[in-house]
């Protein structure tokens, strides 16, 4: 092999790997991006059932119940619209009524939401930034506790 051929071989290998990486990224981007929506978004923009989204808002006071089979049920609200959520799993340690939450999962035909991941804040003052923005848009942002500190905790489960 001449010097030129060797260089060409390396350039070819490099380009092949680059093409592999770009191809994989483009392929993975097609349907593995999850959009964030507030309950109002879900109602207004008519998010299609089965589409994977992140739903964020406040846990409606008095809405949390643990079912006999171990699943949890609660409602997420942005003070305008409210969506019922079911989650098969153990809620994060800092999940509380009246506080910010982000649930990831799919919308069901009956308009309720099946979450497989629930993210809650980590201490008294934190609220997920998406939730803050969503509340600001609906005019229900109170401002207190806006200063974020340590952060989300993860809970993950299998949705039914």
């Amino acid at each position: 092999m001449t010097r030129k051929q060797r260089r060409a071989a390396f350039i070819a290998i490099g380009l092949a790997i680059l093409a592999l990486a770009v191809g994989l990224v483009l392929y993975a981007m097609r349907d593995n991006i999850v959009f964030f929506h507030s309950p109002s978004d879900v109602v207004e923009r008519e998010v299609a059932p089965g589409q994977r989204i992140r739903l964020g808002g406040l846990v409606e006071a008095g809405s949390v119940e643990t079912l006999a089979d171990g699943a949890a049920r609660f409602a997420v609200t942005d003070m305008v619209e409210t969506i019922r959520v079911t989650y098969r799993g153990i809620l994060p340690d800092l999940f509380r009524e009246g506080q910010g939450v982000v649930a990831e999962g799919v919308l069901l035909e009956d308009g309720s939401f099946a979450a497989d991941t629930v993210l809650a804040k980590h201490d008294e003052t934190y609220m997920p930034s998406e939730v803050v923005d969503a509340l600001k848009r609906t005019g229900n942002w109170q401002g207190e506790g806006a200063e974020a500190s340590h952060a989300e905790t993860y809970g993950q489960g299998a949705y039914p």
């Binding site: 092999m1 010097r3 060797r6 260089r7 071989a9 390396f10 290998i13 490099g14 790997i17 680059l18 592999l20 990486a21 994989l24 990224v25 392929y27 993975a28 981007m29 593995n32 991006i33 999850v34 959009f35 964030f36 992140r54 643990t66 079912l67 006999a68 089979d69 171990g70 699943a71 949890a72 098969r88 799993g89 153990i90 809620l91 340690d93 800092l94 990831e104 980590h122 201490d123 008294e124 934190y126 997920p128 930034s129 998406e130 923005d133 200063e147 974020a148 500190s149 340590h150 952060a151 989300e152 905790t153 993860y154 809970g155 993950q156 489960g157 299998a158």
Partner: protein, 662 residues
């Protein structure tokens, strides 16, 4: 008083760092030995001063001096001793001081052990290292002062985030920082080499121990973090592709590439400017991680308090160092003499392919981590890039790499015989095939890809063993001769085999946990049982107990397999009154082949509790593999070649630039 001494020492360290940044650089430029000689003592003094500042902070936490705001915010007198200490770095300000302490420690180590470096290179390295210290000390002093006092002093502190009150997590940050900051050392060496305009085999040899030390610290740090996530976050996952995790993974991958390319630069004089670029990128990604965690652009378990001023300051540091070093690279790198062109099929060629694949994997992680942030910054839609994205991009690239790993060490330098290498790997390939069939036999109902993953893991371990067997002529020569050869084998060879084999074991663990997980979630009353993957789990009782600074609801779960008693687990929900938080402690039983993992949830009415349980196949192997990799790094670090150092041209010692290297 002690607090004020600490504060004063920190400011003094800043002044010393400024001197250490300016004088040696000027000295190296003018070939002024006096100015250059400031570097060493200044580095030692700077370390001593930062250590004093850190000790003052630690003292305040130990004696619960709540007149220190930091201690008030992050400590509590009832906290166990170990968490009083770890509380020092369990917050933004304190962890920044730890960061700079490690930075200064590395500088001091160059000052102590860098006697064999050429004088100008040593002066420039310490100067660049000091410039990083100046930036971060300025950051601490002006935006994140840890020595703020409270008057009047409160009687009690507000405690440390309970999630951070954990044995593995207590020492996760020091290891992680040692890794991040370790790459500051290779960065300083790269920038100094660019300024010198010279990279040769001895440069590569001097850089390698630092790259190795940083890599092994980062490996331990990441493994500890993922182990913590596994047993604390309560759902048995070990990696979340959370942006902050990715921020630590990216320097690790690039650092791995650097480790490999530095070998080529040392042994063959090729890939020099590529090695410099990797050294710059590895530290740039470490800085990016620091920015992401501390600027508030991310919210995750790891993120610290948000203060826009801090974010902008760190962004400034990031732009200065990344932009400055890349500009310097663009200007100076073309001047480097490259030599040692090699055939595509050769050890160098294999290492280059390894580097390209690692770079591609980093790029995929980089894109998935930063694209959502960029979109958000541009007021686009809020999106999340989930684990699926990374599984579809990072995993295939890494699988290609893993298939190729055993070939590399068996190829000769310059030009190699791939057929001979393949023949030496026949046994490993056979073992991998058998392992695949066995995995299909046992787990025929699992995902079809998983046995291939197990085959890949066995391929890596057996491939590493084949290489050692080949080099010691095992089975080809009398056993005594093989043992003699094994004893004489350089430690670096053992280190490499361990690192590659450990990687295989970690891969097996990842495959097992991902593919063969059994889980159940049920509401049980005391006395009731449930089944999980052949085990019977019985909730025997639920009671309360008091810990040192928490009260816990503890479940007692008995595990049986058929008639045989296996273990009794005690998953807990702990409430920390001082911090007003709760924390889940999973109960885990391991037999090293799989874990039974039990979490106690909420009350589900009528005296029942939610119990969630997993059987995680091969889970412990992830961290065992990680530790073996780190051990390989440590053994490699003690290799004679690195201890003794490169033979140095006498003229270089005198500080005179030789006409041409080598």
């Amino acid at each position: 008083m002690i607090i004020e001494i600490g504060h004063f020492a920190l400011v003094l360290a800043l002044a010393v760092a400024v001197a250490q940044m300016v004088a040696p650089m000027l000295g190296a430029h003018r070939r002024d030995a006096t100015l250059m000689s400031i570097a060493g003592p200044a580095a030692l003094l700077q370390f001593a001063l930062v250590l004093l500042a850190f000790a003052a902070l630690t003292w305040a936490f130990l004696v619960s001096d709540f007149s220190l705001k930091l201690a008030y915010d992050n400590s509590h007198s009832a906290k166990p001793l170990i968490y009083k200490i770890s509380g020092v770095w369990g917050n933004h300000e304190g962890s920044m001081v730890l960061w700079v302490l490690i930075l200064a420690l590395f500088g001091a180590m160059v000052a102590l052990f860098g006697g064999n470096l050429p004088a100008t290179l040593r002066a420039r390295v310490l100067s660049v290292q000091a410039s990083i210290a100046v930036a971060f000390l300025l950051f601490i002093v002006f935006t994140s002062n840890p020595f703020v006092r409270l008057d009047p002093a409160p009687f009690e502190g507000t405690g440390l985030n309970p999630l951070l009150q954990d044995r593995a997590l207590a020492f996760h940050p020091p290891w992680l920082y040692a890794g991040y900051v370790g790459y500051s050392m290779t960065f300083s060496f790269a920038v100094a080499a660019l300024l010198e305009g010279r990279v040769d085999a001895s440069w590569a040899r001097w850089v390698r121990p630092w790259a190795l030390a940083a890599w092994l610290s980062l490996t331990i740090g990441i493994a500890m973090g993922s182990w913590w996530a596994y047993y604390t976050l309560g759902w048995g996952g070990f990696w979340f592709w959370d942006p902050v995790e990715n921020a630590s993974l990216m320097p690790w991958i690039v650092g791995t590439a650097l480790l490999h390319s530095a070998i080529v630069a040392e042994k063959r004089g090729a890939l020099k400017s590529w090695t410099l670029l990797l050294a710059i990128i590895a530290f740039s990604l470490s800085l990016l991680g620091t920015f992401l965690v501390r600027s508030g652009v991310l919210t995750s378990v790891h993120a610290f308090a948000v203060d826009p001023e801090r974010g902008i300051f760190i962004l400034g540091i990031l732009i200065f160092f990344v932009g400055g070093s890349l500009a310097l690279y663009a200007w100076r790198a073309p001047l480097l003499k490259t030599d040692g062109i090699f055939a595509p099929v050769s050890r160098e060629g294999a290492l280059l392919v390894n580097n390209l694949l690692l770079a591609a994997a980093t790029a995929a992680v980089f894109f998935g981590t930063l694209y959502p942030l960029l979109l958000d910054a541009l007021d686009g839609p809020k999106i999340t890039v989930g684990p699926t994205f990374f599984n579809l991009t990072f995993a295939p690239i890494f699988i290609v790499l893993l298939v190729l790993v055993p070939f590399g060490p068996l190829l000769g330098w310059k030009r190699a015989d791939i057929q001979a290498a393949a023949e030496r790997l026949m046994a490993a390939a056979g073992l991998a095939f058998v392992a695949m069939l066995v995995a299909y036999g046992f787990m025929w109902d699992g995902p079809w890809l998983a046995p291939l993953g197990i085959a890949l893991a066995v391929w890596l371990v057996a491939g590493a063993a084949s290489e050692i067997a080949y080099r010691t002529k095992l089975f080809a020569a009398p056993l005594a001769e093989s043992l003699g050869r094994a004893r004489r084998l350089p430690r670096a060879a053992w280190g490499m085999a361990l690192a590659h084999g450990g990687l295989g074991i970690a891969v097996a663990g990842i495959v097992g946990v991902t593919a063969w997980r059994a889980e159940t979630i049920v509401a049980l009353a005391p006395g009731e049982s449930t089944e999980l993957a052949g085990y019977t789990l019985t909730l025997e009782a639920v009671g309360m107990r008091d810990g040192p600074n928490f009260e816990a609801t503890t479940g007692i779960v008995r595990i049986d397999r058929g008639e045989r008693f296996v273990a009794r687990l005690m998953p807990e929900k702990r409430r920390f009154p001082a911090e007003r938080q709760e924390k889940t402690e999973a109960g885990i039983h391991t037999n090293l082949l799989s874990d039974i993992y039990v979490v106690l949830g909420d009350v589900a009415g009528e005296g029942k509790w939610v119990v969630r349980a997993y059987r995680n196949a091969l889970a412990p192997w992830i961290w065992i593999g990680g530790m073996i990799m780190a051990l390989g790094g440590a053994i490699s670090l003690t290799d004679r070649r690195l201890r003794v150092g490169a033979p140095v041209n006498a003229k270089i010692h005198a500080g005179v630039r030789p006409a041409a290297a080598e």
